[in-house]
Symmetry: C2
Subunit: 112 residues, 2 copies
């Protein structure tokens, strides 16, 4: 048995995600929203290192359900929290669908 | 669909785990073992922030299966890699069983 119903990992210390957005700020924003909902004992938001998907981020991963989000912006966080973390419905438009498992580091020329 | 068959998170930047052992070294050791086994595309080892289990660590968590290890020592890593990550059999003697979900921060007087 795990400790959390949902355990969210945000890439904050990889080489790329933190250059694309204030991902440390993502953690603060989501933690505050979860605390406000009174669910900090069931839902944990964590900082994480690189997931080897560089160029596709900022990356946010929700375990144990194994839902991956890519290219997350600060303005998406409210929907991720409301729809997915609190409501149980992943945000389809933000789902990461690279078409293959494993590492998936984009060449610099292919990055947005 | 997630990116990794096993995604391992080691607390390296919490306030307590890194004081109990060289948990950055845990990441290096496990990554090297996974690379040697040729499985770095299927098994990812990540650094992580605090899981709010302070005093029970060093903590190592394996998702998506949601297997938690506590009080991990450097000399346990070979068995975790061989038995669990490569062999599929979690190491029973190291499993974290606090008896309750959620945060579980030990008072300083109760820590080993």
């Amino acid at each position: 048995m795990g400790q959390y119903r949902k355990h969210v990992f945000v890439c904050t210390t990889g080489a790329t995600c933190p250059t694309q957005a204030d991902t440390e700020g993502f953690v603060k924003t989501m933690r505050a929203a979860i605390a406000k909902a009174g669910l900090h004992e069931e839902i944990r938001i964590n900082k994480s290192g690189c997931f080897s998907q560089c160029g596709n981020g900022p990356m946010v991963v929700v375990y144990p359900e194994d839902v991956w989000y890519a290219a997350v912006r600060a303005e998406d966080l409210e929907e991720i929290v409301r729809s997915h973390l609190l409501g149980g419905h992943p945000v389809e438009r933000l789902l990461y669908r690279p078409g293959k498992p494993g590492p998936n580091v984009l060449a610099k020329k292919d990055r947005r």
